[in-house]
C-alpha cells in the first residue's frame, strides 16, 4: 500500500471530500435540529402551562393553521425539486430551488411584518399579546433564517451550475450535501407548521 503525500489541501479525491462535507453538514443539522426541538418544546410547554390564562389572552389574536403551511410549502417544493435535480445530475432545477427560497423568504417576512400580535400599554410601550404570540414569532424567525441559508446555498449552486471549471464529481457530492440541508429545512418547516397549527 502506498499513500499520496503531495500537498493535499482539497486535493483529496472528490468522493472523499464530498462524503466529509456531507458528514459535516449533517452534524450541523443535528445542532440546528436541537434548536428547532427546543423551540417546539417551548411552544408546548408554555401552552400546557397556560400561566395566568395568557397563552392566548382574552381578545388576543391567533393565526390560522394555513399561515404556517404557507410558510412551509416553499421548503417542501425546494427539497423535492432539488432531490429530482440531484438524482438526474442536472443543474437546471437550481433556478427553481432558488426561486422557492426567495418566495418562501418573502412569505415568511411578510407574515412577520403583518402579524397582529403587538399591543400597546398605557405608556405607549409595545408588547406581545401572550405566550402563543411570542412562540409564533420565534418559530417564524427560525423559518426565515432557514430561508436565508437556503437562498445562499441555492444561489451558489445556481451560479456554479453555469461555470465550467468546477469538478463535476465534487459538485455532484455538493448537490447531495445540499440535499441533506434542503430536506432538513423542509422537515423543520413542516414541524413548525404542525406546531403553530395546534393553538
Amino acid at each position: 500500500m502506498s499513500s499520496d503525500t503531495q500537498f493535499h489541501i482539497h486535493h483529496d479525491a472528490p468522493e472523499v471530500v464530498g462524503r466529509r462535507e456531507r458528514l459535516g453538514v449533517r452534524l450541523l443539522i443535528v445542532a440546528d435540529g436541537a434548536f428547532v426541538a427546543s423551540m417546539i418544546f417551548s411552544y408546548f410547554y408554555l401552552r400546557g402551562l397556560n400561566a395566568n390564562g395568557a397563552w392566548v389572552p382574552k381578545g388576543g389574536h391567533t393565526l390560522s393553521a394555513s399561515t404556517g403551511w404557507m410558510a412551509a410549502l416553499p421548503f417542501v417544493v425546494a427539497a423535492i425539486v432539488h432531490k429530482i435535480g440531484t438524482r438526474n445530475r442536472s443543474n437546471a432545477t437550481a433556478g427553481i430551488v432558488l426561486l422557492a427560497m426567495l418566495v418562501g423568504a418573502y412569505i415568511q417576512w411578510h407574515q412577520l411584518a403583518t402579524m397582529p400580535f403587538i399591543a400597546k400599554d398605557d405608556g405607549g410601550r409595545h408588547f406581545f399579546e401572550g405566550a402563543y404570540a411570542s412562540n409564533w414569532v420565534v418559530l417564524g424567525g427560525a423559518n426565515l433564517f432557514h430561508y436565508f441559508v437556503g437562498t445562499f446555498i441555492a444561489l451558489g449552486l445556481f451560479i456554479r451550475g453555469f461555470r465550467a471549471k468546477v469538478d463535476p464529481t465534487l459538485e455532484h457530492w455538493r448537490q447531495l450535501t445540499a440535499s441533506s440541508w434542503f430536506t432538513w429545512i423542509a422537515i423543520s418547516g413542516v414541524l413548525c407548521a404542525i406546531t403553530t397549527g395546534i393553538i
Partner: protein, 621 residues
C-alpha cells in the same frame, strides 16, 4: 503502533500572494471593520431620549452593535472570503489555500485567519490561558472580599456581577480548555490526519470565539451581569444593559462550539489513518470526540434560551413573564438541558487526557479500553437525562424529582468505570513520577470528593438543605477545577514538548502542582464546611459564625493563586528558554510523537499505517 509508508515526493505549489485580498487581512483589519459595524449598528438603532420603548430600543441597539462587531470582525479578517468565492463559483486556488495555511509566514500567521490546525491550537492555548488568568483574578477578588465577615473589598453592588463574570469566563474557558488546544493541535496528528476535516471552519471557530471576548468584557462598562452566570429569567430580562453582553457572548460562543464540535467529530470519523480501527483510536481522541459530540445538540438549547431572553428584552415577548403566559421554569429547563451535559463536556476530555498519560508513565497497557469507552458513552448518554436535579426546589413537578434523582445517581456507574480504568492501569505499576503523571493522582482524589459530594446533591432531601449553599460551589469546583482543569494542566505538561519544542520547567511545575493542590483542598474543604453549615452562595456578606471557614478558604485561594502564577511563569519561560525537547521525551507510542518539531504543515511526510493498539507497553512492540 505504526509503519510509515511513502512513495512520492513533495510538489507544493509556491504561494503567490501578491495583490490578493487574503494577504492584506489580519486582526487589525478585523478590528477596524468590526468597530465600524458596531458603531454603525448602534447609531442606527439608538433610542431617542423620549422614546416610550427606550429600554427595549437601548437593548436592541446594544445587542445589534455587539453582534455586528462579531460579523464585522470576521469580514475584516477574511473569514467569509471562502464562502463568497464558493458562491460566485471561483473557488480558492491551491496557492491561496496554502497561503491561508500560513506556510512560511512565521509569527504573523497567529494574527491572521490561518487554517493550519497547529496554529489554531496555539491560538486556543493562549486564549484559554488568558481567560483562565482573568477568571482566576476575579476569583481572587471574590475570595479576598470573603476573607472576613462584612468585608468590603468589593462593593456589594457589583459583587454578583463579579461572581457572574467569573463564572461565565471560567465556564467558557473550561469548555475549550482541552478540546481547544489539544483537540486542534494534537488530535489530528494522533489519528494520522494531515489536517482537520474543515480547515477554514477550524479557523472560524477560534476567531468567532475571539470576538466574544471583548463583548463579554464590555459587560463591565455596561453595569455588569447581576444575575450570576446562570442568568435566570426573569432576572435576566429585567437586568441592565450589561446583560446584553452576556446574551451576545453566549450566542457567539454557541456558534463557535457548534462549528468546532462538528469539525472535530467529522475529523475523527472521516480522517483516521489507514488501519486505525475504532478500537485503535487513542483514548483521548475518544473522550474529546464524545465531549464535543455531546456539545453539538446540548448548546442550541441554551442558545434558544438566550434568543428568548433577547426577544423579551428587545421586543417585549413573554417567554419568561408569567403576566403574559411565560414562565421562569421554561428558562430553567432550557438552561439545564444544556447545563448538565456541559459539565461532562468539560470533564470528559480532562479524564481522557489522564487515561492517555497514565499508560505512558506506568509502562502498562490501558486497563480495559472498552470499559473506558463504555464509561464515556454511559456518562454522555445519561447526562442528557438528569437536568431537572438542578430544579428540585424550584417547585416544578415535584413528582418527577424521584426519577431525576435515580438517573442522576445512575451516572455514578459509568463514572466508576473511569476510576476503575485509571486505577487498574496504575495498579501494581511503577509510575514514572514526572509532572504529567502527578495530575492523575490528584484527579483520583479530587474527582472522588467531587463525585461523592455530588451524590448528596442528587439526593432530593439532602438537596433541599444544601441547594444554593457554598457546599454546591465547593462540589462543582472539585469536579470542574479539581478534575477537568487538573487533567488539562497534566495534558499541557505532557504535550508541551510537542507544541513548543521545549520541555516545561519541571521544578517550577512541581512547585506549582503542590501549591495548587494543597491550596485547593484548603480552599474547598473549608467551603464544604461553611456550606454544610448553611452559608449561602452569591451573598457578599456572611454571618460571623462562618468566619474561620472563610478565612481558611481564602488562605487556600491565595495558595492556588500563587501556584498558578508559578505555572504561568513556567509556561512563558519554558516556551522562550526551556530545554530543547527530544522528539519523543516520554517514549510514548501514539502518532504525535513520531513527528518532529516544528511539525510539518501537513504533519506527516509519509502517511502512517496503524498496525496495533496505541498502548502496547510491555508487549514487545
Amino acid at each position: 503502533m505504526t509503519t510509515l509508508q511513502s512513495t512520492s515526493s513533495h510538489s507544493r505549489p509556491i504561494p503567490n500572494p501578491a495583490k490578493s485580498l487574503i494577504t492584506k487581512l489580519h486582526m487589525g483589519t478585523g478590528a477596524v471593520v468590526g468597530i465600524i459595524f458596531a458603531v454603525g449598528a448602534y447609531y442606527a438603532l439608538r433610542p431617542a431620549a423620549d422614546d416610550p420603548n427606550f429600554y427595549n430600543q437601548q437593548n436592541k441597539a446594544l445587542l445589534a452593535a455587539m453582534l455586528s462587531w462579531s460579523v464585522g470582525f470576521l469580514i475584516g479578517i477574511g473569514a467569509f472570503i471562502g464562502p463568497f468565492r464558493w458562491l460566485i463559483g471561483k473557488d480558492l486556488t491551491a496557492e491561496e489555500q496554502l497561503y491561508l495555511a500560513g506556510d512560511g509566514q512565521g509569527i504573523k500567521r497567529y494574527f491572521k485567519y490561518c487554517t493550519d490546525h497547529k496554529v489554531v491550537g496555539i491560538q486556543y492555548l493562549v486564549g484559554v490561558m488568558a481567560m483562565l488568568a482573568v477568571g482566576g483574578s476575579m476569583a481572587m477578588m471574590i475570595r479576598t472580599s470573603l476573607a472576613v465577615p462584612g468585608g468590603h473589598f468589593i462593593a456589594a453592588t457589583i459583587y454578583n456581577s463579579l461572581v457572574g463574570l467569573h463564572g461565565i469566563t471560567m465556564i467558557v474557558a473550561m469548555i475549550i480548555v482541552a478540546t481547544g488546544p489539544f483537540g486542534n493541535y494534537i488530535m489530528p496528528i494522533m489519528i494520522g490526519a494531515r489536517d482537520m476535516a474543515f480547515p477554514r471552519l477550524n479557523a472560524l471557530s477560534w476567531w468567532v470565539l475571539f470576538t466574544a471576548i471583548p463583548v463579554l468584557c464590555s459587560a463591565w462598562f455596561l453595569g455588569g451581569i447581576p444575575t450570576g452566570w446562570t442568568a435566570y429569567a426573569p432576572l435576566s430580562v429585567q437586568a441592565g444593559p450589561g446583560m446584553n453582553a452576556f446574551i451576545a457572548t453566549i450566542l457567539i460562543f454557541a456558534v463557535s462550539t457548534a462549528v468546532a464540535g462538528m469539525n472535530i467529530t467529522a475529523t475523527v470519523v472521516a480522517m483516521r489513518a489507514k488501519g486505525m480501527k475504532w478500537n485503535r483510536v487513542p483514548i483521548f481522541v475518544i473522550g474529546a470526540t464524545m465531549s464535543v459530540a455531546l456539545a453539538i445538540p446540548a448548546f442550541p438549547t441554551f442558545m434558544l434560551a438566550m434568543v428568548q431572553t433577547a426577544t423579551d428584552r428587545v421586543f417585549n415577548t413573554g417567554f419568561y413573564d408569567a403576566n403574559v403566559g411565560g414562565s421562569g421554569w421554561l428558562y430553567a429547563h432550557l438552561f439545564w438541558i444544556m447545563g448538565h451535559p456541559e459539565v461532562y463536556v468539560i470533564l470528559l476530555p480532562g479524564i481522557a487526557i489522564l487515561m492517555e498519560i497514565t499508560p505512558v508513565f506506568v509502562r502498562k497497557p490501558l486497563f480495559s479500553y472498552n470499559a473506558a469507552v463504555l464509561g464515556f458513552a454511559g456518562i454522555a448518554g445519561l447526562s442528557v437525562l438528569v437536568w431537572a436535579h438542578h430544579m428540585y426546589i424550584s417547585g416544578w413537578t415535584p413528582t418527577l424529582n424521584g426519577p431525576f434523582m435515580v438517573t442522576t445517581e445512575m451516572i455514578s456507574v459509568p463514572t466508576g468505570l473511569l476510576f476503575l480504568v485509571l486505577l487498574g492501569t496504575v495498579w501494581r505499576g511503577k509510575p514514572w513520577m514526572k509532572l504529567p503523571m502527578l495530575g492523575m493522582f490528584a484527579v483520583i482524589w479530587n474527582f472522588l470528593i467531587g463525585g461523592i459530594t455530588g451524590i448528596y446533591l442528587s439526593d432530593v432531601p439532602a438537596d433541599n438543605y444544601l441547594h444554593g449553599s457554598m457546599y454546591v460551589t465547593a462540589h462543582f469546583h472539585y469536579t470542574l477545577m479539581g478534575a477537568a482543569l487538573t487533567g488539562a494542566v497534566a495534558g499541557l505538561a505532557y504535550w508541551f514538548p510537542k507544541m513548543t519544542g521545549r520541555m516545561l520547567n519541571e521544578r517550577a511545575g512541581y512547585i506549582s502542582f503542590w501549591f495548587v493542590q494543597i491550596g485547593f483542598q484548603i480552599l474547598f474543604l473549608g467551603m464544604f464546611i461553611a456550606g454544610a453549615e448553611g452559608q449561602p452562595r452569591r451573598v457578599v456578606s456572611f454571618a460571623a459564625m462562618y468566619k474561620y471557614q472563610n478565612m481558611i478558604s481564602t488562605g487556600g485561594a491565595y495558595m492556588v493563586g500563587i501556584g498558578f502564577i508559578v505555572l504561568l511563569w513556567a509556561v512563558i519561560h519554558s516556551w522562550r528558554k526551556g530545554d530543547i525537547a527530544p522528539m519523543n521525551p516520554w517514549g510514548a507510542k501514539t502518532l504525535e510523537w513520531t513527528v518532529p518539531y516544528p511539525v510539518p504543515l501537513e504533519n506527516f511526510d509519509e502517511a502512517p499505517v496503524i498496525t496495533s493498539d496505541p498502548y502496547g507497553y510491555g508487549k514487545g512492540n
